[in-house]
């Protein structure tokens, strides 16, 4: 371990960060850019969270309390867009920036200046997107899926700025993915063969390919919208020979891989944390890699399961039903492998482990409800109800978001050189865990009973479930303030952390001192068997 540290000790390359604000504006350093991504994503989480709480406050009781229906629509729309594109995706890119160079034994990302560009596009793009809420013509109100013709014929003027914001964040994602692919394929330390790569690196490699394949499709889609709105084309207008359903097909061809873009890196994170706290090697590394690859492949041939009720030909419905159910196989492999990793491990339950175990359990619930939705005839009943809302929030909140929080706690000592307060961390976990279940579990029931999504008012029989759900949402929302406090408290008052902050942690990043030096590995480290396969 100490050899690796001495190798990175000061040579001509280790000039530190610049002083002042220009450090952040002009930086080409993967750690600085990772930090920027993570704080950006956290601020988006809070903004998107406030919008969600407005929604839940309105739904606390039947009847219209606080907001008009149109404003309610703006809240759900912007909540979805901000959380998907502003909170979850940038958080994973931030983690990739921080971790991938350290985990593959590289000094930095492959294309550092482009790395800076892909980050700095985002604050501007989201500034423009959020500003539409305050525009005269009214904010975006067509749902995060922006189906035509709601987003074309009947859209407020602000849709033009939304389209350009999507173009910009798409460009940012594409550049980020290219950077990640080049880093992983080109900058691994000697001896780190593909099948010795850490799982987080594997999952991000595959995620980057998904992004490259579908973000341009999204760009093409919003471009067609732009032309329908401003130049008189008729892609999504049947009067001109087009078809609004064409919109949905292209959207979900992007949208379904997009769902996996938000969960594959989470799989990678959990595959690091569970072995570390079970003090065992990850069970079935190879099958984990093949499972991720299979899930990624399947994600391209299941998109129309979001559209079972639009009146597809029967053959289409059957095809998409079976392919969707097939995804349960590789996903099941992963869940079984995580459980087998814990089996007879010498387990401890620090905060990252708690979040990871909650991830496995709650993500599996979200997976099972997904399986229910995959059954076409049953989906006719569930479609566009709160059951769907419960399903995708179970995979996105205690799924993606919990994994991000687990990652932040797990690598916090490596990033800051300090330990967070375990007591406060656990408190944050339990508040979040309780809050998330109280919020989303009742939505299964209101959905099965027929409550439609995206409405500001509802029939009386749904009142109790909604009240419980709203209480949970406020618990969950405010416990993220605690998260912020735990982080700041750790940065300021935390005890110094050792290089290998967790005794069971494996991987090259733990051979570096804590905090990690400004440029990770100026000379490639030796990959020992002990640190590989982490």
């Amino acid at each position: 371990m100490s050899e690796a540290i001495s190798a990175v000790d000061h040579d001509d390359h280790s000039h530190g960060p610049a002083k002042g604000i220009t450090r952040w504006l002009f930086t080409t350093n993967h750690k600085d850019i990772g930090t920027l991504y993570l704080w950006f994503s956290f601020s988006m989480l809070l903004i998107g969270g406030v919008l969600a709480l407005i929604v839940r406050a309105e739904l606390f009781q039947p009847g219209l309390q606080f907001v008009s229906p149109d404003f309610f629509n703006q809240m759900t729309t912007n909540h979805g867009l901000i959380m998907v594109f502003g909170a979850i995706m940038p958080a994973f890119v931030g983690l990739a920036n921080w971790l991938i160079p350290m985990q593959v034994g590289a000094p930095d990302m492959a294309l550092p200046r482009m790395n800076n560009l892909s980050f700095w596009i985002l604050p501007f793009a989201f500034g423009m997107l959020i500003a539409t809420l305050f525009s005269e013509a009214g904010g975006l109100n067509f749902g995060w899926t922006f189906y035509a013709p709601l987003s074309t014929t009947y859209a407020p003027d602000s849709v033009t700025f939304f389209i350009f914001a999507v173009h910009l964040m798409g460009a940012s994602s594409i550049m980020g993915s290219i950077n990640i692919i080049a880093t992983i394929l080109n900058m691994r330390a000697p001896g780190m063969t593909l099948m010795k790569m850490p799982m987080f690196v594997w999952t991000w490699l595959i995620t980057a390919y998904l992004l490259l394949a579908v973000m341009p499709v999204l760009a093409g889609l919003v471009t067609m919208m732009l032309f329908d709105i401003h130049f008189g084309t008729s892609f999504f207008n049947a009067a001109g020979g087009g078809d609004p359903l064409l919109f949905q097909h292209i959207f979900w061809f992007f949208g379904h891989p997009e769902v996996y873009i938000m969960i594959l890196p989470a799989f990678g994170i959990v595959s690091h944390i569970i072995p570390a706290f079970a003090r065992k090697r990850l069970f079935g590394y190879d099958s984990m890699v093949y499972a991720v690859a299979s899930i990624a492949f399947l994600s391209f041939i299941v998109w129309a399961h979001h559209m079972f009720t639009v009146g597809m030909p029967l053959a289409g419905q059957l095809f998409f039903m079976y392919t969707t159910m097939l995804i349960a196989v590789p996903t099941g492999v992963k869940v079984f492998n995580w459980v087998s990793t814990m089996w007879r491990g010498s387990m401890t339950f620090e905060t990252p482990m708690l979040f990871s175990i909650a991830f496995v359990v709650l993500f599996t619930i979200g997976g099972f409800s997904g399986l229910m939705l995959a059954i076409t005839p049953a989906d006719y009943q569930y479609h566009d109800t709160y059951f769907v809302v419960a399903h995708f929030h179970y995979v996105l909140v205690p799924g993606s978001l919990f994994s991000i929080m687990a990652a932040v706690y797990y690598w916090f000592p490596k990033w800051t050189g300090k330990m967070y307060s375990e007591r406060l961390g656990k408190l944050h976990f339990w508040f979040s865990f309780v809050g998330v279940n109280v919020t989303f579990f009742p939505q299964h029931f209101s959905g099965l009973a027929g409550m439609p999504r995206r409405i500001p008012d509802y029939a009386l029989q749904f009142a109790d479930f909604n009240m419980v759900s709203s209480i949970g949402a406020f618990i969950f929302g405010f416990s993220q303030i605690l998260f912020l406090f735990v982080l700041i408290h750790g940065i300021r008052n935390g005890k110094p952390a050792a290089a290998r902050a967790w005794e069971g942690a494996r991987g090259l990043e733990w051979t570096l001192p804590s905090p990690a030096p400004y440029h990770s590995f100026t000379h490639p480290p030796k990959v020992t068997d002990d640190e590989a396969h982490a």
Binding site: L111, I174, I178, L212, F235, G241, H249
Partner: protein
């Protein structure tokens, strides 16, 4: 850092700099300007492109500075073979993302021809839409009479290829010939670089750029004819929509490719390329082959079939 080129284990990390964030600022100024312009245009209000032009100016200047710096770094020997390999991966996967961008439009064309239009004409699972709303609509491709003819008057003529014996007087055929030849000439320029024959490099690259410009000129000619004589516009329903967006975005990419090749042309006059250090040229030529392949696909599914 001076020894970077010899020591393959040291990766060149550029110092921090203002280009990226300036580019981001330029982009957002351009996009916001364009958004306001389009909204005002569609509302029939007065509008101006000033902000867009300023933003685009910033983007162009920054890109110029950025590429100049990267070229200078290479000439100083900072860029070793590992860094160059990153550029190779970067360009390769960028082209892949461009392929997927076109895939969205090709996919739309396929869906419309295979499903949407036949359904509107009363076929298959979704025949009711056609039966109830537009019982008179006849599903043929190209769609010359749109279902809602009041809002979307159909084109008077279309661009579909005539019988193969008449192709000599068919403009898209000549465009195909031009673009395919330009792929060959750019390849000959590459061979000339490998053979270190600078005058040949300049000649073949110059001819390639010229062919690109001729292609674009003929595309403009085709659009002028479509608008002025054939009644084929963006507003002529789904045929005009798919025709103009597919050929238009292809034309946009040809424009970009021509500019990139022109830069390589200038660089070859300056003697930048050697037999084993010519990635700028190679990246440009890959891009050119890519737009060429897209055109072949376009010619087949938009014009011929």
């Amino acid at each position: 850092m001076a020894n970077a080129a010899e020591d393959s284990s040291v990766y060149y990390i550029p110092d921090s700099g203002w280009y990226p964030i300036a580019l981001a600022v330029g982009l957002i100024i351009t996009m916001m300007g364009l958004g306001s312009y389009l909204n005002a245009m569609s509302a029939g209000e007065s509008n101006s492109l000033t902000q867009t032009v300023i933003g685009f100016g910033i983007v162009s200047v920054v890109l110029y500075c950025w590429f100049t710096k990267v070229i200078a770094e290479n000439q100083q020997g900072l860029v070793n073979s590992t860094v160059k390999q990153s550029y190779v991966w970067g360009m390769g996967w960028f082209i892949f993302s461009e392929v997927m961008f076109f895939a969205a439009f090709f996919g739309a064309l396929y869906y419309v021809r295979a499903f949407a239009v036949p359904w509107l004409g009363g076929d298959g699972a979704k025949s009711l839409t056609g039966d109830y709303l537009w019982p008179d609509f006849e599903a043929v491709w190209p769609v010359m009479n749109n279902p809602g003819a009041a809002d979307f008057p159909g084109p008077e003529q279309n661009m579909v290829a005539p019988n193969i014996s008449n192709w000599l007087s068919y403009l898209p055929f000549w465009n195909t010939v031009i673009l395919l030849s330009s792929s060959v000439t750019v390849h000959w320029a590459h061979s000339a670089i490998k053979a270190q024959n600078r005058s040949k490099i300049i000649i073949w690259l110059g001819i390639t750029v010229l062919l690109g410009i001729i292609f674009l000129g003929l595309q403009v000619e085709e659009y002028v004819i479509a608008y002025s004589q054939m009644g084929l516009t963006l507003g002529s329903g789904i045929y005009g929509s798919t025709f103009f967006l597919l050929t238009g975005f292809h034309g946009f990419h040809v424009t970009l490719g021509t500019v990139i090749l022109f830069v390589q042309f200038i660089r070859s006059i300056k003697g930048h390329f050697s037999a084993n250090d010519c990635f700028g040229f190679e990246a440009a030529s890959w891009y050119w082959h890519f737009v060429d392949v897209v055109w072949v696909g376009l010619f087949i599914v938009v014009y011929v079939l």
